[in-house]
Symmetry: C2
Subunit: 426 residues, 2 copies
């Protein structure tokens, strides 16, 4: 059997009422995409057996593979496996082995196993059980005939870490045996040129490209071009993609490309490593987010020794040496303060580059002159600071202003490093 | 007309292939939920006119309100309004006024308006245009008759900030005029008791509760109980909810409840404010995430003056005063190092409470003795440090280990503060 089309169905009232963001669907989508399995539709439904039945049945008409996440837990409103068993006409059977494993899981954690966990030791008769190495609810892979065609349903637990681990280790290897065409996607990363301008400049190229397809989309402070090719082999799809990526680099958009298949923090850390430069941070309104973004990158320790979160004026002065008279005269939201923070961070941490961020993330603290969203970012390198004043819209959320500030600081660092020579060998 | 049921449909190939996590659906779900509009199903589809048509038509059979996000942009693959216009039998009409507004938007940003943006100046004949104060694509609210019933379709742009602002300011006030029943939801926040144990303890209560309903779900390092009531007035629904929340506080679960309708960082900041205590952070493996979580809370500045990200040993020593002989003898992943970091942070920032985190977030750096996921967290208060060693599973991702470390540090702080008296008046 060949799987061409799949659907993802996420079960859980907590998603439907917005208590939880459905990151599972995004993650699984990427996985299916890379396996060359198309997906045209995705759904979320609540913990309701009738609606789940109806959705599963409708979905099975449109695809060979249905991946369901959620509803495998110990509580009475977890109804996924019961419902699927009924649809495919199978019983649930008890497994002593599964029970023992769940029991061991609790013992290992030093916790008491409550009796409702017993429910998780039942599986759909005939299904392959998928081990849960991280949690208690096992998954299942059911192969069956539906209206004369072969179908596969994969049941995965809702908690993202358990779901990902189970899919990668136990479900994916099985599904991979049923794929034919291979899709390869590459992303071109662009800064300082908006989506509509990119689209305008590449309009005719985008329209005439069918394999690979080329489509732009926005990410925070950057534009991405997604290039997707399909072929019978991975190598061939890869080659089609690569050719287009190389071609796009030669167009008007080329100068604005900072990388491919990367993220701004990763690109910055790689550039720092390549140039043997160390960076230090001093953050006020971003409150640690910039350092967090840098250290999200595994291996950041070779270019980042530390940073300061200087939230109050007194810490800006005491720990970073920002001049009290400047703080008094101009207040903390000022280009001179940002510059001295950047220099202070560089000096204290003994790095090559210092970054200083100060501004108003809101919701309070804005004035007519300096409304919420006003942020000063300084990058200190080679004896001088480059400071930029940003006016992120005052209607943006605190979270968004902080994110934009941290990302724009990284973009500024990227531009400074690109112009810089190699740093001292340490 | 009364809107009882709604569906949310998110359009965009970038969601379907997993490039973007669908946060819009979660956010809108909450909004609908609070308005007493039920939602049983949610969908995502790609930028394809036929499939969009088919999904919109099927959906309209099941609900009175359809909220569509995405596909309103300037590029040729943005097809939402064209498709909806066709389904409801209307033309797209050009608006000079919209064009001028888009033009002004670009001028204000100091950017050139590319010609493809002209597409965004077209709207569906007869629709109410919803202003976009943050971006360029206007939204629309269409009232029409479909198979003999009144329906409303709201079209919102895909970028979350634009979508939220437009919904809150221009769409929601209109939709609110068409609601009857009101739903109120409250969340009870629980730590140190897992979902299955909570479910076991409240099993009979959960089963017999229909209004309000009571359902548990997991969040990072906590369990939540969602209590949802419906009534004709908000006050009545609120009362039903509140009564249940108060009742649950008197059950066996009560001792584990740290708050209602809150988040761990918010609860910690509020506790610190209430007890007039200041906190300082020293982070190694979390690299600023803890400070970021604290400063996510608006108003954190009254309890948080700053923190240190001490990623390298040398900064742990130079900036925080961690003993070099301890670092030499035991390495950086050690309970003594965590304790000295906590104490150092408290001292340097002149706070009441210091938090130190050191450990191995992975993917590299683990040993047999101290595998990836080993994290030491110290909370220093009143002359002594409480240190806990955590073993977050070695199979968890770097991101997840960092998140669990930061959240668990906050839980430890919460427990220390609860036992503490009031701090010095500053």
């Amino acid at each position: 059997m060949i799987i061409n089309k799949a659907e993802i169905l996420c079960v859980g009232t907590e998603i439907l009422i917005g208590d939880i963001v459905n990151t599972n669907a995004a993650w699984l989508s990427r996985e299916l995409c890379f396996m060359g399995i198309s997906q045209y539709h995705q759904a979320v439904i609540g913990d309701n057996s009738d609606r789940l039945s109806h959705t599963v049945e409708t979905t099975l008409d449109n695809c060979e593979l249905l991946v369901i996440t959620g509803g495998l837990g110990p509580t009475y409103d977890d109804i996924t496996k019961e419902t699927v068993a009924r649809i495919i006409g199978k019983e649930l059977v008890y497994s002593k082995e599964l029970y023992d494993e769940i029991h061991r899981f609790f013992r290992h954690k030093g916790k008491k196993m409550t009796e409702n966990n017993r429910k998780q030791a039942y599986y759909i008769d005939g299904a392959s059980v998928l081990k849960n190495d991280i949690g208690t609810a096992p998954g299942m892979l059911c192969r069956f005939e539906y209206k004369g065609s072969e179908k596969i349903i994969v049941l995965l637990p809702g908690p993202p870490e358990e779901m990902k681990h189970m899919w990668s280790n136990y479900a994916k290897p099985e599904i991979e045996r049923h794929t034919s065409k291979v899709f390869v996607t590459r992303n071109i990363n662009i800064v300082r040129m908006g989506e509509s301008e990119v689209a305008q400049k590449l309009d005719s190229l985008m329209r005439r490209s069918t394999n690979p397809t080329v489509a732009p989309y926005c990410k925070t402070a950057e534009t991405r071009l997604r290039v997707t090719a399909s072929a019978e082999t991975k190598e061939e799809a890869q080659r089609i993609c690569d050719d287009m990526v190389e071609h796009i680099k030669t167009t008007e958009v080329g100068d604005y490309i900072y990388g491919t298949d990367t993220e701004i923090p990763v690109a910055v850390v790689e550039l720092l490593i390549a140039k043997k430069l160390k960076i230090a941070t001093a953050e006020s309104c971003t409150g640690g987010l910039l350092a967090k973004m840098i250290t999200d990158v595994a291996g950041a320790s070779s270019v980042f020794e530390g940073g300061m979160v200087s939230y109050s004026n007194s810490i800006k002065y005491k720990a970073l040496g920002v001049s009290p008279s400047i703080l008094d005269k101009y207040g903390p939201y000022d280009h001179r303060v940002a510059a001295q923070m950047a220099e202070g961070a560089k000096r204290i941490i003994d790095a090559d580059i210092g970054v200083g961020i100060t501004g108003i993330a809101g919701p309070n603290g804005g004035t007519e002159d300096k409304p919420v969203g006003t942020v000063y970012i300084a990058v200190y390198y080679n004896g001088k600071s480059k400071v930029t004043k940003f006016k992120f819209g005052r209607k943006l959320s605190r979270e968004r202003i902080r994110e934009l500030a941290a990302i724009n600081a990284l973009i500024m660092v990227m531009e400074v490093i690109k112009k810089a020579g190699a740093g001292p060998h340490r």
